[in-house]
Symmetry: C2
Subunit: 369 residues, 2 copies
């Protein structure tokens, strides 16, 4: 069992494992504290639950012209975290007791090398937890490397779990900061997955220094469905990032900026036709990445022909995402997209039709102390 | 008197001036017709007024990260057009009888070389006018080359005048298309001035092929003031455009796109702080253009220090535009900006505090037939 963290709320200290605690693999951490911690650390919060269970949704980042600054959460798919106060874990530390779900064998149980663990540690630091040990169990509902924010969902579920077990003292921006520490290690310092995974709905990343997020509220009286089609194909984020141009022609910049503006307006107004058009209108990123995913161009064409308002690559791929206003039509669009992946890309694929998740990472169960 | 246009509603024809009409300078036009004209031309509309007067507001284009696709109209400043049915003008033709206002001596009275004339001719073409001659008088309320959409205001006022005198049969997108024909000759095929000059408020240019405009409604219950400070300095659009980079680094592209998205969201939500922040956040265009306008960087700094939510260059300059929620504070900000132009740029400048114009080009007077 990997145990790695002792909170250092007032000043950084080097940990000295006590004689009562003998981890198999111990990891010492001496992480500098954000200023927020100092304010909060005057009184260390007590746990208000003995255990909690949280869920964080899958996310679609980039959204065509929203590359690297816009993402949204999708309902039904996601990761879960069960977290409990555990007297067998050294106070101020966390252990990962169990990982289940599809790709669990690939994931480390060392909290320092696990998305959920890193985010949980960050939240413990922010809260200044030094008297309570925690045990975390992660259930992966999302495949790795699918372009649906798998790492962000784990981080979000863990961050919210730690926050909730201690009474929910941190706000969503602080939880996103914790999630960002995790994303930084896995796929780069980008909040366009972990932002919506925690906050739900559409989230625009306005700035990183300091972090400045803007939640874009899609009108409550309108429906938005995503058709997510994931082929059996590996599209590593690094390779997909390397495909991007370093420099962009002014005309393409202006075009993508205008589509980004139109996308944001369409989200706020609930204009699905406008949203789809903008989503499909990226002239910078998608044209470089789509050819690296066999069949992607045909899949997009098939989606539009079948009535989708728009279609693009989800995150860095390989999942294709189309938008529509009706679940039934979404299923038909999904069939056509799966067919196109098979016919044009020689790839098996699965389709899922899901709604916009408007809530984000949340507590789904809790046990009082 | 310059007379140049005979509408050709069904098929293009070469004009043959008749013996009853002997212009001093005649200009023959054989312009291809847009498809819209064919639909409308089945029955040529009758004039519903003997004369009309219209007004079109000044506009602030670019708006920082909204470069080349976003603009808004500002109240109080603008151009006026008086248009009358004139039996002394050859049917289907238009003449410019009078130009008044500040820079009138620089403007041609040949309708083919005058912003108002070109737009008026386009609207006559769209409506298929061949039986009525028109006489146009232009009053310039806007200085040329100030970065406040002077040419667009003339075009917008003229386009709306012709449309209104024949009963207002064309929609705003068609009028913008007419205005674009004018802008194309003067400053390039950009609708970010003429769009808001005709439609009012904020207008996002989503596409040119075909023209696709999105009006962004700033909430009616909130106030938005612009502080417009125009120095005595010439900033030719061509020179300001030549200063732009041809290629843009990916990081700057993503940043500006995110600010454009935030700007659009702020407009729709009436979030003035967010609007100002985004307006000030351009990392691509303003950094290249500001050094070409003496004192501009100091003017921006002075505006922000005096409490403005944001500040940037209006259009291609030299006017600086700051945003604020209160007229009185706007006046103080204006004073500081004028001071900075003088102290740091050695330029005299005038300040004006004005509201968002939510209406756009409009009929202000009319006389029945």
């Amino acid at each position: 069992m990997a145990i790695c963290y002792q909170a250092t709320p007032v000043k950084p200290v080097v940990l000295r494992p006590t004689t009562t605690f003998k981890p198999v693999n111990s990891f010492r951490c001496n992480l500098s504290l954000p200023s927020k911690t100092l304010e909060l650390s005057i009184s260390e919060p007590e746990p208000v639950f003995s255990s909690v269970k949280t869920f964080a949704p899958a996310t679609v980042a980039n959204l065509g012209p929203g590359f690297d600054f816009l993402g949204c959460a999708v309902d039904g798919l996601g990761d879960s975290v069960s977290l409990s106060v555990d007297s067998s874990v050294h106070p101020g530390q966390i252990s990962i007791s169990h990982i289940s779900g599809d790709p669990c064998s690939k994931l480390s149980r060392n909290p320092l090398w696990n998305c959920a663990g890193i985010a949980a540690i960050e939240v413990m630091k922010m809260l200044g937890i030094r008297s309570v040990g925690l045990s975390l169990s992660l259930h992966k509902g999302l495949p790795l490397g699918s372009g649906l924010g798998s790492s962000a969902a784990s981080a979000a579920a863990a961050a919210v779990a730690v926050n909730e077990i201690f009474g929910g003292k941190l706000g969503s921006e602080e939880l996103v900061l914790a999630g960002l520490k995790s994303e930084e290690k896995v796929s780069g310092y980008h909040a366009d997955n972990v932002g919506p995974a925690i906050m739900g709905g559409f989230v625009l990343i306005r700035n990183y220094e300091p972090l400045d997020l803007k939640k874009l509220t899609f009108p409550g009286d309108k429906e938005l469905y995503f058709v997510l089609v994931t082929p059996e194909f590996e599209a590593p984020t690094k390779k997909m990032r390397a495909a991007l141009p370093l420099e962009i022609a002014m005309a393409h910049h202006v075009w993508n900026c205008s589509q980004a503006g139109a996308l944001v307006a369409s989200v706020l107004e609930g204009d699905l036709v406008g949203l789809g058009k903008a989503l499909s209108g990226d002239k910078i990123v998608e044209p470089r990445r789509a050819p690296l995913i066999p069949g992607m161009e045909a899949v997009k064409k098939a989606a539009i022909e079948a009535g989708a308002f728009g279609c693009t690559i989800s995150g860095a791929g390989p999942t294709a995402v189309a938008v529509i206003d009706c679940e039934e039509r979404g299923e038909k669009i999904g069939e056509k997209m799966v067919e196109a992946f098979w016919n044009e890309g020689n790839l098996k694929a699965v389709a899922l039709v899901t709604r916009l998740d408007r809530v984000g990472a949340r507590l789904v169960d809790s046990n009082p102390r």
